[in-house]
Symmetry: C2
Subunit: 399 residues, 2 copies
DNA sequence: ACTAATTTGTTTTCCGCCCTTACGAACAGG
DNA sequence: CCTGTTCGTAAGGGCGGAAAACAAATTAGT
C-alpha cells in the first residue's frame, strides 16, 4: 500500500517577527477600512490585540500618512471618549484604467474606497492598434492623475481592466478577441512610473461588488458584456483556477445538441444568452448601445425583445443552477451590461434556480449589481489602492 | 456615489509570538512530511528559517514524540553528515471510520501517512437504526484501536466518513438519504474519548487523493457512489461553499428537458450517469456488488452494458466540461466506485471534455483514482492525523 | 459643584522568539 | 595528518507583542 504525504500538500512560509508586524499593520488597516471610523480601543477589542500594540501600530500608520485622527468622539457611555481613526483622504490613491470595445476609462480611488475622479471617453477600439489605444488611454489617465493631484491625492499603483485573458506574464494581455489583441504588454503604458497590473474586467467587476456591495464574501458574479464571463469570489478573493482561466461561464453547455458555437462545441450558454444571440432573437442589430435599445424595447412591451430576454434568462438560470449546485455560493450577482436587463432576465433565472437547486437555495440570494457597467473600472481603482490597505508595509511615504 | 469598504472585506487574526511559533512548528512538520527524511539544515534551507531556529523547533517536536531522529546520513558531499529527521511511526495516529450502505470500516493511519490497520466488514445499513449502526461501528473501531495500540500507536483523533451531508453542527450528520439518517449526532459514538469529526465521503476521498496522489493541489474529484458527488480541492483544501453544500454534481442539469429526477428537476446528471440509471440501462438490478457485475459484463463485451457506460461517460463528460470551464482545475480525478469503470467511461468523457473546454484543457489531466473505493476511509484516517501535522501545538503528549 | 466610576491612550517592564555570529563536531579529499 | 566543508548548537541582541500601571477625559451620582 502506497504511503507518505504527497509533496503537493506542503504550504506556508516561515513566520518571522517582521512578518508578524506586517500582518498586524494590515489587520489594523483592514479593520478600520471595514468598520468605519473607530477608536484605538475599538480596534483592539475587535482584533484581539492589546491597546498598547494598537497604539504602536497606529502611530506607524499615522506617520506614514495612511491613517488620520479626527477629534474626540463621545461614545455616549461613561469614560474618556476615544479619538476616531479613519483612513486618510489625502494619502496614496489607486488609479483604475479600462479599455473597453467602445470606450476608455480612468478613475482614482482614495484609501477610503471613494471614487474621487471619474473619466470615461468614447473610443472605437475594436481592431485598432494596441499601441494607439494605449497611447490614448495614457492621455486620459494623465488627466485623471492631474485632477487627483489637485485634490491632494497621490496615485501610487494602477490596475487595468481589459475584456480578455491575462496570462502568467505580469502586465500583459494574452488574448482579447473583441479588441483584436494578442500578447500585448500593457505595462509599456506605465509612463507615470506607477506599477501596473492587468486583470480581466469580469474579475474586477466582481471585486467592486465585493468591496462596495452589501457583500457576502463567497459569490458568483456574472458579467455579460461581449462574452459571458463569471468570476468566482471565494473567501473574499477572486478564484482564478489552476491556469487562470476560471469563470468561462459562456461556454458551459446548456443543451448538448444545441446550435454550434464559435468555440466549436454545441449548445454553449453564449448561444442562448450571449449578447449577439439575444440581439438577433430580438430582431436588433449589434451596435454601440445595443443593450440600451433592447432595454427600451422591452420596456415598451415589444414581443420579440421580451421573448428573447425570457429565453436568455432561462438559459442563464439553468447554467447558474448547475454552478450553484457545484459551488454553493452565498449569492449570485448579475453585473456588467446585463444588470440593466435584470427586470426581464430575473424571472426566468429565478424559476430555473428554484427548481434546479437542491437545499432550497434562497431566491433572494440572486442579486442585480448596483454598479452595472461601472463595475470593472471601479474595481480596478479599488484593487489598486486595496493592495496598500492589505499590506501597508509596501508603502513608503518617502518615495 | 456609494463609497467605503464593505465589512465583508475584513479578514485575518492578530499575529502573536505564540502564533508565530505555532506556525513554524507546523511548517517544520509539513516540510518533513512532504519531503521525506531530511536533515535540520535541509529543513532550514527549504523553509527559510535559520538552522538555529529549526533546531529549537525540532527539539520541541522531538520531545513531543512527533519527530524521530535516525542515524547519520552521508550526503555524499564533503562535510559533516546531517541526522535524518522523520515523522514518528510510534507517536499519535489518526482513526478513520466509515459508514457505507453495505459496509462499515475503520483504519488507523500513522504520522507518516501510512495505513497501519485496515478493517472492513459487510453490513446492511440501509434504513437501519443509526444507534445500532454506530454501536457496531464502535465495536469495529475498538478492534482497530486495539491493533494499533499493539503496534505502539496512539489514536488521538477520529474522522467519520458518511455518504451524506454534514451540517453546521459539528459531529452530526444532517441528512444521509441512502442510510435513512437525519440529524444523527455521531459524536455519541465517541466512546474512546477521542474527538470525532464527521465529513462527507466524497470530500474525504478527495483528500486521500490529494495526499497520496501524484497530486496537483487544485482539482475536481468525482466520487460516484450512490449519488454523484464532487469535491473541489482548491489550494490543498476542500472547498465547501457558503453553506457547506458545494459539490452536488449529480444535480447539475445535462438536458433541461430530460427525465424527471428525484430532486424534482429535469435532466439532472444523476438521471444519466447515476448508479441506478446506468444499471437500469445495462439491464442489471441493484445489489451489493452491482458495479462489479457491471464491470465484468462490460469486460465480456455485453452490448447493453457497454452502451450504458458509453452514455454515462458522455453525460459525465458534458457536465464536467462545464465544471472545468467554470473552475479551471489542474486535474479531474474519477474516484469512488466509478474508478473501476474508468476503462469504459473515460473515452466518452475525454471526447466531451476535448470539444467543450476552451483553451485545450489537456486530456491527460483526466485521471482515474488508484484508491477507488478505499478513498473515503483512507482519507478519513489521514485527515484525522493530518490535523496534528498541520498544527502540532494542539497535541500534548501528557494526555 | 464635587467626587466616584469608567473608559481611553500611553508608558514601562517583561518575556518569547527568531536572527546573527561564533564555535565544536564530523566527514571527504589530498 | 591537515584542510576545507557542512552540520548542529550555544550565546548575545533586537524586535514586537503582553501585562500592568498610570494619566487623561468624560459621565453618573449626590
Amino acid at each position: 500500500m502506497k504511503h507518505g504525504w504527497a509533496a503537493a500538500a506542503q504550504s506556508g512560509r516561515a513566520a518571522s517577527q517582521q512578518g508578524m508586524r506586517r500582518q498586524n499593520l494590515a489587520l489594523v488597516m483592514t479593520t478600520v477600512a471595514a468598520h468605519g471610523p473607530m477608536s484605538r480601543a475599538a480596534v483592539a477589542e475587535r482584533t484581539g490585540l492589546t491597546r498598547a500594540a494598537v497604539s504602536s501600530l497606529v502611530d506607524e500608520l499615522h506617520s506614514a500618512g495612511l491613517l488620520t485622527e479626527s477629534g474626540s468622539v463621545p461614545s455616549g457611555r461613561a469614560g474618556r471618549p476615544g479619538r476616531a481613526l479613519a483612513l486618510s483622504e489625502r494619502g496614496p490613491a489607486g488609479l483604475g484604467l479600462e479599455v473597453g470595445v467602445g470606450h476608455l476609462g480612468a478613475c482614482v480611488v482614495d484609501l477610503r474606497g471613494e471614487v474621487r475622479v471619474w473619466l470615461r471617453v468614447a473610443a472605437a477600439n475594436r481592431n485598432r492598434r494596441a499601441e494607439e489605444v494605449l497611447a490614448e488611454l495614457t492621455a486620459v489617465s494623465e488627466r485623471a492623475v492631474g485632477e487627483a493631484r489637485a485634490s491632494g491625492l497621490r496615485p501610487v499603483a494602477a490596475v487595468l481592466a481589459v475584456p480578455g485573458l491575462v496570462g502568467d506574464a505580469p502586465g500583459t494581455v494574452e488574448r482579447a478577441p473583441n479588441l483584436g489583441w494578442r500578447d500585448v504588454a500593457a505595462s509599456e503604458l506605465c509612463a507615470h512610473g506607477l506599477p501596473l497590473e492587468v486583470d480581466n474586467e469580469a474579475n474586477l467587476g466582481a471585486l467592486a461588488e465585493l468591496w462596495q456591495g452589501a457583500g457576502a464574501c463567497d459569490f458568483i458574479h456574472v458579467s455579460a458584456a461581449e462574452g459571458i464571463g463569471a468570476a468566482l469570489v471565494v473567501g473574499g478573493r477572486v478564484f482564478r483556477g489552476a491556469r487562470g482561466f476560471a469563470g468561462e461561464l459562456g461556454h458551459v453547455p446548456v443543451r448538448p445538441d444545441g446550435p454550434v458555437c464559435a468555440c466549436g462545441a454545441r449548445g454553449c450558454l453564449e448561444q442562448y444568452a450571449g449578447e449577439e444571440a439575444v440581439l438577433r432573437q430580438a430582431g436588433l442589430g449589434r451596435g454601440e448601445d445595443a443593450v440600451r435599445r433592447l432595454a427600451s424595447r422591452a420596456r415598451d412591451g415589444d414581443r420579440r425583445a421580451l421573448g428573447a430576454l425570457e429565453r436568455a434568462g432561462e438559459a442563464l438560470g439553468t447554467t447558474l443552477a448547475g454552478a450553484v449546485n457545484l459551488v454553493d455560493p452565498a449569492a449570485v450577482v448579475l453585473g456588467g451590461a446585463y444588470a440593466e436587463l435584470g427586470d426581464w432576465l430575473l424571472p426566468g433565472m429565478r424559476r430555473e434556480l428554484a427548481t434546479r437547486t437542491l437545499r432550497r437555495w434562497p431566491p433572494e440570494a440572486l442579486l442585480v449589481s448596483a454598479l452595472g457597467r461601472r463595475g470593472p473600472l471601479t474595481g480596478a481603482g479599488m484593487a489598486a489602492i486595496r493592495r496598500i490597505i492589505e499590506d501597508p508595509a509596501v508603502w513608503r511615504p518617502t518615495d
